[in-house]
Symmetry: C2
Subunit: 214 residues, 2 copies
Amino acid sequence: MTTTTEENYLKAIYHLSTGNQDSVLTSAIAGSLSTSSASVTDMIKKLSEKNMVEYERYHGVKITRKGEKVALSIIRRHRLWEVFLMDTLKFKWDEVHDLAEELEHVSSDELTKRLDAFLGFPKFDPHGDPIPDTNGKVHSNGQVLLSEITKKGKYILSGVNDHSPSFLQYLEKKGLIPGSIFSIVEMDEFDNSMQIIFSNKSPSLLAKKLAKTF
Amino acid sequence: MTTTTEENYLKAIYHLSTGNQDSVLTSAIAGSLSTSSASVTDMIKKLSEKNMVEYERYHGVKITRKGEKVALSIIRRHRLWEVFLMDTLKFKWDEVHDLAEELEHVSSDELTKRLDAFLGFPKFDPHGDPIPDTNGKVHSNGQVLLSEITKKGKYILSGVNDHSPSFLQYLEKKGLIPGSIFSIVEMDEFDNSMQIIFSNKSPSLLAKKLAKTF
DNA sequence: AAAATAATTTAGACAAGTCTAAATTATTAA
DNA sequence: TTAATAATTTAGACTTGTCTAAATTATTTT
């Protein structure tokens, strides 16, 4: 039905869509997939033919409900495989992304269903991202960006938005992994920095937009 | 390094090679992969360039040690995934082949290694086929074709050569699964048939070449 | 051993996905 | 609101893997 390439485009468009109402720009998709704008234009035409996106030339695309469903099914598979790779095969959290990127394209709903059951119907992946359900619904469970917290107090690190191995390794070295409890002890409006304490260790200054928390 | 298509060609050539010394014919490969002879010729040239096969035009191909290693690594992955699908995800033995056919192309030796460990280093897949080791060695453990047995007596069904879902379902309905003990009670040289008894049920006449046994 | 048949290869074309360079359209600046 | 710049699309080409039809080589038959 959909090729691996189409699936990757839909995933990218979906991710670029979430949290902003506007159309997704050709150049943004090209950047996200490390390909040329010309290639993106070609593929967008194809996806538009299949009613996966709404396309108006020179004005980017909007993903349709149909396209979104495909994207969410791939994202569901991706995150379930990540759980499998960490929980079952004991990979580290900075190693699972690239493998899941391949496994997500194995096209069997029955496989996804059984994997889900085997893993105990997990609701979040190892990076704290919610796993969409079979109907393409996402339950985000009150997570909030660290950069958007306005009150001091205790929080739990539930996940991160940056999945790059280097960032994940950095966090792990600091002792910050999903589930870590930390306290915001000081917030400075001048430069949007905050001081946090965690793991009974010394305070550490972290840049904003570090993590999703609740 | 190798594409999915190249891997599938090498697998087919390897399977057609085992147990016969000769070159593998273009038409045999075409038949096995349900493609045209013209396509096979094209791909063979490519594999020959990469020293995966030795090619003499109009006279078929022989797989090289290099090509064989690639084939065996894919077959190893295939069979490990089959074990995973049956043992861990509880698929039935006639459902695992097609899924494993997709999973085998996920290219990570580390993944294969960890999957192997998780499954407890299995030596055979659910159809009784031996799982090649990391070095590309196959330990076949004294299995023998049912059609080549000459003595009456008790045997264990260790596997089958025909992996088609319909045949596997037929066997399962009869109660013949890997591990089943059966006795050959009569052999008829006239038509190469044999009478076997298994599972405390009534005798059943089975065609030759049904299964590998030891 | 020549003729007929079967198998294989070549030639030319196609689809998917990609690229660069040129042309077009939007946006920003003056 | 025209000029300059930036983004997007089109045009044409390339790669991988495939196909059909025609040409070539092997094999079998007589």
